[in-house]
């Protein structure tokens, strides 16, 4: 192994002009054009800044609530305002702060940690971030003009149906969630492809930094958890707007369906937030101990285990709904199982601390890490308590649970986040925060937190329910509530001092050392806008410790890709498992398109929420147009040929087919669509179990005759065949051919016809979506398919336009490949849907 280190990929001296060119290529736009920037360090800062702003805003709401609850029978806040405030506090903290904040850290840190020049889809991140910033601010502002939702962050039906929540308030919740759904999915695509395909050469999966592992699992969890809530919010908005009775018991719906969908997302969500934070801790602890993590593989195993087990817990939010005991018991057992991975991590960190060379260094980041360990342990243990079904009978929906999840979320996520600010600040801004002030910040936050939340365990056991705007005196809650309020203000003082120090640090010169903590991972290599000068060849988990000359080698351009051979933004794509270099990905730079798309997407949803349909549609069209213009510039084709990256390795600068990054992104998207569909199938079967009396042939008209599904199936199969043929008949570069064009058009129209026929068949049988939950479910299937068919229609038009302009041929074919793979998926989903809708009721009788 040691020979490698001496034989560098590019041993000869490199020209400094290469650095100038990198600087020019990766330059951040100046002035107001900075909004068009896509560099991960710039948009990552915007992302984390926005998320932190939401943390502060939702924190102010928390203080208002604590003020109201300080004394019994208080009317500092009115009932209605309090209900709005606790809803917005929860929603903002979970959706606008926690998930975006960890995702932002991924955007900020991953490329540096993987020594990639940027994430693989820079404009996609920027798009997601802008949509989130605009949408999030509008959502939050509703609290100022009495338009805020007041159904709780969990928005249980039927309280949130039109009958009990008239007005647009609940729709604003759905809107806020819509943005975070978009940005979370976009982020997941970015991070899955980023961690699997843009690692530095040699960094096999099992050498990947723990934070990257945790982000990979985070993204995978988003792929499978978010679709459930996406479906749930679609069903809720459709029931609110059009009266399809998914959740209305009198028409065969079930309020509990919402709880299943919401918590199938909502429980993993907690771990989606926690795992990256744990990943950050696993980076900080070894640095402060000055030695590698003890139990690296155990920690990876714990992360993966948590990722899985967290999907088997959702019913533990429903222990008091009257579900049969045995069902509850399964989920109680799974809740025990998820405790073990957390235990593994805690003991691994303790072992690493004990192994420290010369004592574990007490810095502000390590204080927050230790605070995290203590608080998170307590939160985890009370989690075990609430996972015991009978204990939950008593403590569910009380202040005990409020205490529990604040221990888990503030302990498990906010403390590591603050540690992260202190630890990685030099990377983002070149400045260190004050260690002296940091001590104050820590003790105020840690002390205030425990003063505020520990008493709540007792308050809850003494019978105080959650979500109450006031309470009578003399129930044994008065003193405890006052203590909690005092603690909340102490905690807030800590946060305020932190913010002041954050601002103050920017008045000082950016003179932090390159690797201030003496860490061992790649983000501490010499950095600039282009990330590292050359991309290191990695042979261990802590390259900077094992090879002290690495920073000089990298800066001198002696590793891979020390220049910009294609003259544009690019990075190395490596194989997913072993990280062998495969090709050079060419990436887009700054632009207006994604920004316009983001703003108008936001406008589309906002206007729709306030029922301004025509302006909304106009904005929607502009957003789609902007996306098309944006996509037009991608798929550059193989014009640049192969380039040398060092060690005599020549890599192609264009790749299509199953090893290309865009194909991987499409596969991730298909997984998302697939999980959404699985959630739909679950909902269909669930409602059938609850209300078989409204199914076809019972309370609803008989199914259309078998001719309908057979015709539809043939259309989908024939459509897939035309797509396949189109793929084979794509013209040679530089030539034109009409056949593929016609085939693509036929295929896409065939699919639309199939969806239309499916709806027509049910309509002529007399089935209406508003009459029963069964009808609503049947038409919902077509709504899901129709939305994909519409997407394919747009993508087909795009492919045809590229054919006509000679930008699509049998070599330069990524835009077609993406269309085709999605087409096959949609056709398959349609066929499965036919089996479900037309087959299942016939079999089940």
């Amino acid at each position: 192994m040691s020979d490698f280190r001496r034989s560098l990929p590019n041993p000869e001296t490199r020209s400094e002009q290469e650095v100038d060119e990198l600087l020019r290529i990766w330059a951040v736009p100046k002035g107001f054009r900075i909004v068009t920037a896509v560099n991960n360090t710039v948009i990552g800062l915007l992302y984390i800044g926005a998320a932190f702003l939401f943390f502060l805003l939702a924190g102010v709401l928390a203080l208002l609530m604590r003020t109201q609850l300080a004394v019994p029978d208080n009317d500092f806040l009115s009932q209605d305002l309090y209900n709005q405030i606790f809803t917005v506090h929860g929603t903002t903290m979970m959706f606008l702060f926690a998930v975006p904040a960890v995702e932002a850290l991924g955007v900020m840190l991953l490329p540096q940690m993987l020594a990639a020049r940027d994430l693989p889809f820079p404009r996609l991140s920027a798009f997601a971030i802008w949509a989130y910033v605009v949408g999030g601010l509008v959502f939050f502002s509703t609290v100022f003009y009495d338009l805020a939702p007041k159904g709780g962050w969990f928005m249980y039906t039927p309280l949130t149906l039109k009958e009990f929540s008239p007005g647009d308030n609940a729709d604003f919740w759905l809107l806020g969630i819509g943005f975070i759904e978009i940005s979370a999915i976009a982020g997941a695509i970015e991070i899955v492809v980023g961690t699997l395909r843009t690692r530095p050469p040699g960094m096999s999966l099992t050498k990947m930094p723990i934070f990257a592992w945790s982000m990979l699992i985070f993204a995978a969890m988003i792929m499978f958890a978010f679709p459930a809530v996406i479906l749930g919010t679609m069903l809720l908005e459709i029931e609110r707007s059009f009266g399809w009775p998914f959740f209305t018991a009198t028409k065969g719906g079930d309020p509990l369906l919402w709880q299943h969908l919401f918590w199938f997302f909502g429980h993993p969500e907690v771990y989606i937030i926690f795992l990256p934070a744990a990943g950050l801790v696993s980076m900080i602890v070894p640095t402060m101990a000055r030695r590698p993590l003890i139990g690296y593989r155990l920690i990876v195993v714990a992360l993966i285990g948590t990722g899985f087990f967290s999907f088997g817990l959702w019913v533990h939010h429903m222990f008091t709904t009257g579900i049969p005991s045995l069902s509850l018991a399964f989920f109680s057992a799974a809740s025990m199982a998820v405790a073990i991975p957390s235990g593994i991590q805690v003991f691994s960190w303790i072992a690493t601390m004990a192994a420290s060379r010369g004592g574990f260094r007490i810095t502000t980041p390590s204080l927050f890490v230790i605070g995290f360990l203590v608080v998170f342990t307590i939160g985890g243990l009370t989690g075990v308590m609430v996972a015991l079904v009978p204990v939950d009978y008593q403590v569910h929906d009380t202040y005990f649970v409020v205490a529990h999840f604040h221990y888990v979320l503030i302990g498990g996520m906010v403390f590591p986040l603050i540690a992260t600010f202190y630890y990685w600040m030099p990377l983002a801004t070149g400045r260190l925060l004050s260690e002296r002030v940091g001590r104050w910040v820590f003790w105020l936050m840690f002390g205030g937190f425990n003063i505020a939340f520990f008493p709540m365990h007792i308050t809850g056991l003494r019978g105080m329910p959650r979500r109450v705007w006031t309470y009578p005196e003399g129930l044994g809650w008065d003193a405890l509530n006052m203590i909690s309020t005092v603690g909340a203000y102490v905690f807030a003082a800590g946060v305020a001092i932190f913010v002041v120090d954050l601002i103050r640090s920017h008045l000082r010169p950016a003179n932090a050392p390159q690797n201030p903590w003496g860490a061992g991972t790649l983000e501490w290599l010499p950095n600039d806008v282009y990330s590292t000068r050359s991309i290191p060849f990695v042979t261990s988990r802590e390259p900077l410790w094992d090879d002290p000359t690495l920073p000089q080698e990298v800066r001198g351009g002696h590793h891979f890709l020390p220049n910009a051979p294609t003259g544009g933004r690019e990075t190395i794509v490596t194989s997913a498992i072993e990280a062998k270099p495969q090709y050079i990905i060419r990436m887009p730079g700054p632009g207006w398109e994604h920004l316009i798309a983001a703003v108008f997407t936001a406008a589309f949803f906002l206007l729709l929420t306030v029922k301004l349909v025509v302006p909304a549609l106009i904005c929607g069209v502009i957003a789609i147009a902007a996306c098309l213009v944006w996509a037009w510039g991608l798929d550059p084709g193989p014009s640049k040929g192969a380039v040398e990256i060092g060690a005599g390795i020549r890599l192609p600068t264009y790749e299509s087919g199953p090893s290309s990054h865009s194909w991987w992104a499409m596969v991730v998207l298909i997984f998302v669509a697939g999980s959404l569909y699985v959630a739909y199938v679950f909902s269909y079967l669930y409602l059938w179990v609850v209300s078989p009396q409204v199914w076809a042939g019972h309370g609803s008209p008989d199914l259309p005759s078998a001719v309908w599904p057979v015709t539809i199936a043939l259309l989908a199969i024939a459509g897939s065949a035309t797509m396949r043929a189109a793929g084979r008949l794509l013209p040679d570069p530089g030539t034109r051919r009409a056949t593929p064009l016609l085939l693509i058009a036929t295929g896409s129209l065939g699919l639309i016809a199939a969806v239309a026929l499916e709806m027509l068949g049910h309509w002529q049988s007399g089935l209406r979506p508003t009459e029963s939950a069964y009808g609503a479910m049947v038409y919902m299937q077509s709504a899901l398919n129709g939305q994909l068919a519409f997407t394919l229609f747009i993508m087909s038009g795009f492919a045809i336009a590229r054919l006509l302009t000679g930008k699509l041929d049998h070599v330069r074919r990524v835009s077609f490949d993406n269309l085709a793979v999605l087409y096959y998926y949609v056709a398959a989903q349609l066929l499965v849907g036919l089996l479900l809708i037309h087959g299942f009721p016939r079999v089940a009788g």
Partner: protein
């Protein structure tokens, strides 16, 4: 800032009766289920405390302990032992204890006697329906009376949003979900008065949706139920008679029932024996004439969003007469 006497006044007298501040506390169980849950609660609290102390001790040793101790901790065995073997053993014990406790619910349910009681969650109060010995429906509100030592099935329902029935001293909570009937078997083990509250956020005045549980010796309960099943007592004095007349004239009977009179509404709580209950407006106000007056004229301030209109056009003496009438609707004891 403060609204004196809204709720406080309700249970200050009750505190005297019960003698402690834990009138709604799960830590002072007085019902069969609550007692069994309490055991598990204590065991799991002990487990949590012990593990917390262990982790704290290990952190301290890892940071400041003697070099030889630290050296011993710095190995993977710590992770296998503390992170896998220890939790598997302890969690198995806890899980088994938890599941056995949960399964005891099924045997409690099997022992239930009598016709049971139906409780319907309303916005934001509780309709309580007993069945008398001769099979009649006896409708009451915002108070649950139970015979000590007799397991009783509660059928929990809702015809609007989701509520959750929770009387912590009696049993754990169970949700009331539209379209379903959940059953909860409760058994009071000693005569007492305790308090319960809606635990599932149900919008608007969720915070002000409470009730009292009155557990009484079985024969007292039977006597009470017989009296409760009877019609309302007649107004005893001029003021009450005037109040009765005003009650009818102002259409109160459109929403409220007073058995034995023309008032047969079902939207609001049944008021047949309202004077005999421990509180008004789902444990929001004490039960006296003054509270009735405040409620009639100012209920939207006392309990915002509640579904009863405010009767501000009534003259003070009219309000007073109605209040006297309603306060007198007791069981004559």
């Amino acid at each position: 800032m403060m609204k004196p006497g809204r709720i406080a006044a309700v249970h200050v007298p009750l505190l005297v009766i019960t003698g402690c501040s834990g009138i709604q506390s799960a830590l002072q169980p007085e019902g069969r289920e609550a007692v069994e849950l309490h055991g598990l609660l204590l065991a799991s609290t002990g487990f949590s405390a012990a593990i917390t102390l262990l982790v704290l001790a290990l952190i301290i040793v890892a940071m400041w302990g003697p070099r030889s101790w630290r050296h011993r901790l710095a190995h993977e065995w710590l992770i296998f032992g503390g992170g896998i073997i220890l939790p598997v053993v302890l969690l198995t014990c806890l899980l088994v204890y938890g599941l056995v406790t949960m399964d005891a619910g099924a045997s409690r349910a099997a022992r239930a006697e009598g016709p049971g009681i139906t409780i319907v969650g309303k916005r934001w109060w509780w309709q309580v329906v007993y069945t008398s010995t001769d099979g009649e429906r006896v409708v009451s509100a915002n108070e649950l009376r139970l015979p000590v030592g007799r397991p009783v099935t509660l059928r929990l329902e809702s015809d609007n949003v989701i509520h959750s029935f929770w009387a912590p001293k009696l049993a754990g909570k169970l949700d009331m979900i539209p379209g379903r009937t959940n059953t909860l078997t409760v058994e009071a083990i000693e005569p007492s008065i305790s308090r319960g509250q809606c635990a599932e956020y149900c919008g608007g005045a969720h915070a002000l949706m409470s009730f009292y549980v009155v557990a009484m010796p079985a024969q007292d309960f039977d006597a009470w139920l017989e009296a409760e099943a009877g019609p309302a007592s007649d107004p005893q004095n001029t003021a009450a008679r005037r109040g009765s007349q005003l009650f009818q004239e102002n259409g109160c009977g459109g929403c409220h029932t007073i058995r034995g009179t023309e008032a047969t509404g079902t939207i609001g709580p049944d008021l047949t024996h309202v004077g005999s209950r421990h509180s008004l407006a789902a444990a929001t106000l004490p039960n006296d004439a003054q509270a009735f007056s405040r409620w009639i004229t100012n209920n939207q301030h006392i309990k915002p969003d509640n579904l009863m209109p405010v009767y501000q056009y009534l003259k003070p003496e009219e309000v007073e007469a109605i209040s006297v009438y309603l306060e007198g609707l007791d069981l004559g004891d």
